[in-house]
Amino acid sequence: MSNRDLHEFQHDLIVNESFIRWVKSEFQEDDDYWSAYIDEHPDHDADINAAIRFVLSMSFKEHSSIDKEKLWGRIVTSTGSSQSNSGKVINLRSFKYIAAFLAAACLLFFFVFRFGISDAKNINTGIAQELTEKLPDGSSVKLDADTKISYNPEKWNKERKITLAGLAFFEVSKGQKFVVETTLGSVKVLGTSFSVDTRDNHFEVICKTGKVAVMKKNGTMDEVMLTPGDKVTLSAGNLELKKAGIGKPNEIMWINGMYTFDNQPLSEVVRELERQYDIKVKVADEYSSLSYTGFFRKGDVNEALYSVTWPLGMKYRIDGKTIFITK
C-alpha cells in the first residue's frame, strides 16, 4: 500500500464514530466489531495502533475559571428555590406527619448523641506500614507508609471528601463527585482509580482508569484532566502544573501484543503465557519465584518462550501442547 493509502486507512478510522466510541470507552463499546476488524486486518496492526493513539491523545486541557458554586447561588436566587412544590396546602394530616417526623428525629438525635457523633475519622500509617481503608460507599484507599488521611464517614453519602498527606492509591466507585484535598492541590473524580503522592512537598497524580481532574491550590482555578496513563506533577519550588503522559506502560502495551514484567516472579509470567497461548507450562517449584524483568510478544510461541527463558538462563522443551521449562 502506498504511503498515501496508509494515511487514508488511519484517517478513516480516526473519523469513524464507532471507532472513536470504542477507543474512548476503553475498548468496551462496539468491541465485538472492532476486535473482529483487527483480526481481519493483520497487516494493519501498526496503523490501527496509530489511530488508537491519536484518538486517545485527543484530550483537551480544561480550564475552569468560573466559581460554579457561586454561580449556582445566583441561579437559586433568581429562581427562588422555595417555589419548587408550589401551592401545597398544609392541613391537619400534614401536621400529624410533621409531628411524627420530629419525634423520630429527636429519637435519632438522642441515639446518635448517646453513641457519639464521630466527626472526622483520622487514619495514620507509620514508617514501613501499609494500610487499606474501606470507605462507606465501597471505594477504598491504600495508604503507603507515613501517610495520613481524614474524612467524615457520617457525611459520606452527601459529600465524598478526603484530606491526604503522604502517598495513597484510590479506587473510587461510581457515584457523586469524589474529592481528595492536599495542601498543594486537589483531585476530583466521579468513578475511577488513580494514585496521589504528596510526600516531600511534592504533588503527583497518576491516573489508572477513568478520568481524573486535578486542581492546584494557590488561588487560581487551574484544572487539568487526566486520562489513563497520564501523570501530573507539581513541585513546591515551581508551582507549574506539568502534564507528562508517562504512566505504566502496561496499560497500553497490550495493544501491541506485548506483555511486560518488572521484577515479577516466573509463576506470573507463566500464567500470562498460558493466557495468551493455548499451552500448559510446567516449571519446577524451586524456579517459579525467580524474578523476571522483560517482556514477551503475542503471535509466535517459540519467540515468546525464548524471551522468557533466555534471560533467566533457562531452556524450554515443547511436547504437544505442554511446555517444560528447566535450567
Partner: protein
C-alpha cells in the same frame, strides 16, 4: 437516572433536578462556551440566564433524551447572539477567529516510529491554526463525544458539512504534527 427521567422531574417543578442538571453539565457548558469567547462574565451570565429560563419555562419545555445536547444548542445560540450584539454596538466587523481564546491544546500526541519510541509534542499553536468551526466540531466530537447528528443540531449545519469540518480538521492537525516533528528534528 437517565436524561429523560431527569428532564421530566425538572418539568414537574423539582428544583433538585435543576441542580442535578447544573452539577452534571455546567462544567461542559463552560468548556464549550470558551470555544467562542474568553469573556468570563459573559459566559457566567449566559449560563445563568439559560438555567433561569429553563426553570421559568419548565412547564412548556419539550421532552428531550439528551440534556447536554439541548443545553449546547441553547448555549451556542445565546452566546453567538450576545457576541454579535456587542460587536455591533462596538462597531467591529465579525471576523471568525477574532477575540476568541481557544483554550484548547492537544496534549501528548504520540507518534510512534518503528522502534516503538514515544515522542510527546505539544501542539497548542497547531490547533489554533484550524478554523474556529473546525475546532468546535472536533471538540464536540472527540471531547464531548457527540454523534454526527447531534453536532448537526448544535452547530445548525448539515451532516456533510460536519463530516467535512472534522475530516479536514483532522487532516490539517496530522499535517501540522508531521511538520512540527520534522521541524524539531531539524533544530535538534
Amino acid at each position: 437516572m437517565d436524561d429523560l427521567q431527569l428532564w421530566i422531574r425538572l418539568k414537574k417543578g423539582n428544583h433538585l433536578a435543576l441542580k442535578e442538571i447544573y452539577d452534571l453539565h455546567a462544567g461542559s457548558l463552560e468548556n464549550y462556551a470558551r470555544k467562542f469567547t474568553s469573556d468570563i462574565e459573559l459566559i457566567e451570565d449566559t449560563i445563568h440566564d439559560i438555567f433561569v429560563q429553563i426553570w421559568q419555562k419548565k412547564e412548556t419545555l419539550s421532552d428531550t433524551d439528551c440534556i447536554i445536547k439541548y443545553l449546547c444548542v441553547t448555549l451556542r445560540r445565546e452566546l453567538i447572539r450576545r457576541i454579535e450584539k456587542s460587536r455591533k454596538t462596538s462597531g467591529l466587523d465579525y471576523i471568525e477567529n477574532q477575540d476568541t481564546d481557544f483554550d484548547l491544546s492537544i496534549e501528548d500526541i504520540l507518534i510512534q516510529d518503528e522502534t516503538n519510541e514515544k515522542n510527546k509534542i505539544k501542539l497548542q499553536q497547531s490547533f489554533e491554526l484550524l478554523s474556529s468551526r473546525q475546532r468546535e466540531a472536533i471538540y464536540l466530537k472527540y471531547y464531548e463525544e457527540m454523534s454526527y447528528e447531534e453536532i448537526c443540531e448544535i452547530m445548525d449545519i448539515n451532516y456533510q458539512s460536519v463530516r467535512n469540518l472534522i475530516s479536514k480538521g483532522i487532516i490539517e492537525l496530522r499535517k501540522f504534527i508531521v511538520m512540527w516533528f520534522l521541524f524539531l528534528l531539524i533544530i535538534i
